[in-house]
């Protein structure tokens, strides 16, 4: 375990919204080949944590360090989201954010944007190299669609896809940016058990075959137990536990956090 290359290192991340401290000095690490999970009740600050890491928010305090393999370490604080994506860190959204009036294939093609180069003038002239690049974009996007099982929908509008398929399309789109670390924000939200099982398989496949490390947010603790290790638990912005699934399951603080929530829901 110890020799594995560290990809993402977050140290003491804090995010304030006015007087509200949504994330309170959270530290977290993701290593190569891992499927790490960040769990916690609603409003714990998980999505805010993602938004800080991916550059959508600029964190109030703390360091976000990216250690790409074979490249120097980069500090991500304050970088624009597109720069973060270019460094090899892609994400999906909790509330699906697809380009709904574009086709499924085009959605994935957008992901290829930061890995291709044709500018305005070359697009107008459309010489051979541009045409080749376009074809490469189409082919590789189509291959990604096949990987997530959406090839048959390639020419449908993204908005016409069923819910589960939209979530998978978001994953394909993120993968098109060639990340080495993929952040998934509640990828199973709103899915039925069958779809969730398929998604679990997909995530494992991405991790093994594509060699992409994964950091996954999940609201429901049971879902992540069988695929992720390590697991980090947040509550009220603070990290309250971390460890293997077994350790998390037995951790009294975690049990309390989740039981506490359940009684709230019952009330």
């Amino acid at each position: 375990m110890a020799e594995k290359h560290k990809l993402l290192e977050v140290k003491g991340l804090t995010m304030d919204f006015g007087g509200l401290r949504a994330v309170d000095s959270v530290s977290l690490e993701v290593h190569e080949g891992e499927i790490a999970a960040l769990i916690g009740p609603n409003g714990a600050g998980k999505t805010t944590f993602f938004n800080c890491v991916t550059g959508i928010y600029n964190p109030t305090k703390g360091d976000i360090l990216l250690h790409p393999k074979g490249l120097p370490t980069r500090r991500l604080n304050g970088l624009k989201p597109n720069k973060v994506t270019e460094m090899g860190l892609a994400r999906t959204f909790q509330n699906i954010r697809l380009f709904s009036d574009m086709t499924v294939l085009e959605n994935v093609m957008i992901g290829r944007h930061c890995r291709t180069s044709a500018g305005i003038f070359r697009s107008i002239i459309r010489d051979k190299s541009v045409r080749r690049e376009e074809q490469e974009i189409v082919e590789s996007s189509y291959q990604l669609l096949k990987k997530v099982g959406l090839a048959e929908f390639a020419n449908e509008f993204a908005k016409n896809l069923p819910y589960g398929a939209q979530r998978r399309l978001e994953i394909a789109r993120a993968m098109a940016t060639e990340p080495f670390l993929l952040l998934l924000d509640e990828p199973a939200a709103g899915m039925n058990p069958q779809e969730t099982a398929e998604l679990d398989q997909l995530i494992c496949r991405i991790s093994e075959e594509e060699r992409i490390a994964i950091l996954l947010i999940e609201h429901d603790m049971k879902l992540v137990m069988n695929i992720s290790n390590p697991i980090y638990v947040m509550e009220y912005g603070k990290k309250i536990a971390e460890g293997s699934p077994q350790e998390i399951k037995d951790n009294p603080k975690v049990i309390e956090a989740y039981l506490g929530e359940e009684t709230e829901e019952d009330a």
Partner: protein
């Protein structure tokens, strides 16, 4: 159906009641008596009934179609026809031939009208880049048109530079103004964006009106050179025909370039920006660069066609560049179909040619204009033709069709 019928009858009775004092009763002051015009009231009743019934009928039909769309995602016949490449090429060929023989068949008056329609086609296609593709609402687009027109008028006046030299210069100046306007509004969205661009349009006009030493104020600039052809002397007729052909070439040029841009990596980034800004940047697209390029390229066409406008009219003043123009150009894009090149062309012809040929109704022009827009938004909010999807070819698809 029966319910609609009853509703419509109720509405027509209500209308009769409302308009009764106005339409039915008239006091004849010379003979000191009251006239009862029963026929008029009958017409009101019938008219309001028919209108209300038609309204309900079409609304119901639209609802049905919406259900269809949700189930099968079907398109209108026109849309399907336009997606057939073969048909498109043929149609384009026919249109081009028609456009080329047009000035030989019709007189100078018709040609002039056609030239202004074509000018609006280019303006519409330009605005379509920022509004239709990139989703950046621009209510001051006419400012770039003014930049082009004044750059030709002034450079021609002071330095005697010719039309062909200034044509690209006008475009580039438009571009520069697009970037200058683009920078401060990079972070704005929706309503705020609309207001700032509206302001920019106003500023340009006010500057042109008041900075007399630069722009000759409200009296404008006259005697601008027409485009020259190897120093030949041309009378009004042949010069109009010449400008017409330049305009056709410019339109074809615009269509080619905007079409290429639309179906390129850049064009896709614009559309993605329109669809969802946050997802767009999270997918690695540089928002600032994408927005600026959309503004600049949109403004480019306005600048260029502005040069031609100045050359065509030989006289310009700030009154040609009012908010009304921006509104018309925007209506062309919205009516035609946001993001659709063909739609915008159709929109321009409808909005510019119809009022010209329906001079008789010119008093009701704005009324008809508004009514048409409202109806359009209710019955076909996506415009006459919505953006036609590119069909991408991938190896596997080809193999499938080859085998099957």
């Amino acid at each position: 159906m029966l319910k609609d019928f009853k509703q419509s009858i109720l509405i027509s009775i209500w209308f009769v009641f409302l308009t009764f004092p106005l339409m039915a009763v008239r006091v004849n002051t010379t003979e000191q008596m009251v006239e009862w015009r029963w026929m008029t009231i009958l017409w009101v009743a019938i008219g309001s009934f028919v209108l209300s019934y038609a309204w309900r009928y079409f609304l119901a039909k639209k609802q049905l179609k919406k259900k269809d769309d949700e189930e099968g995602g079907k398109h209108s016949k026109l849309q399907l026809l336009m997606e057939d490449m073969n048909f498109r090429y043929k149609a384009m060929g026919v249109l081009l031939v028609l456009a080329l023989v047009f000035p030989l068949v019709f007189d100078t008056y018709q040609n002039t009208i056609m030239i202004s329609a074509l000018i609006y086609v280019v303006l519409g296609l330009g605005l379509n880049i920022s509004v239709g593709l990139a989703g950046l609402l621009d209510l001051g687009y006419v400012a770039f048109f003014a930049v082009g027109a004044y750059s030709y008028a002034l450079l021609n006046y002071h330095f005697d530079l010719g039309f062909w030299t200034i044509l690209p210069v006008g475009g580039i100046l438009g571009c520069l103004f697009g970037v200058v306007l683009g920078f401060p509004i990079l972070r704005l969205r929706g309503d705020y964006l609309a207001i700032v661009t509206l302001g920019f349009g106003m500023i340009i006009k006010v500057v042109l009106e008041n900075w007399s030493s630069f722009s000759f104020g409200p009296s404008g600039i006259a005697n601008i050179d027409k485009p020259g052809l190897f120093g030949m002397d041309m009378n009004i007729d042949s010069s109009t025909i010449y400008i017409y052909y330049i305009m056709i070439a410019l339109v074809v040029f615009t269509i080619l370039i905007t079409n290429r841009l639309k179906n390129s990596r850049i064009g896709r980034a614009w559309i993605a920006l329109r669809e969802d800004e946050i997802a767009c940047v999270a997918m690695g697209i540089d928002m600032a660069r994408t927005k600026l390029s959309a503004y600049a390229l949109g403004a480019f066409w306005a600048g260029m066609v502005g040069v031609l406008f100045a050359a065509k009219t030989t006289f310009i003043n700030p009154a040609s560049f009012t908010f009304m123009e921006s509104a018309i150009i925007l209506s062309i894009v919205v009516l035609g179909g946001m993001g659709s090149i063909l739609g915008v062309i159709l929109g321009a012809f409808i909005l510019i040619l119809l009022p010209e040929y329906l001079r008789a109704f010119s008093e009701y022009r704005m009324l008809a204009f508004g009514a048409a827009m409202v109806l359009m938004m209710i019955f076909r909010p996506q415009g006459i033709i919505s953006g036609i999807r590119t069909k991408y070819e991938y190896k596997e698809l080809k193999e499938e069709t080859d085998n099957g």
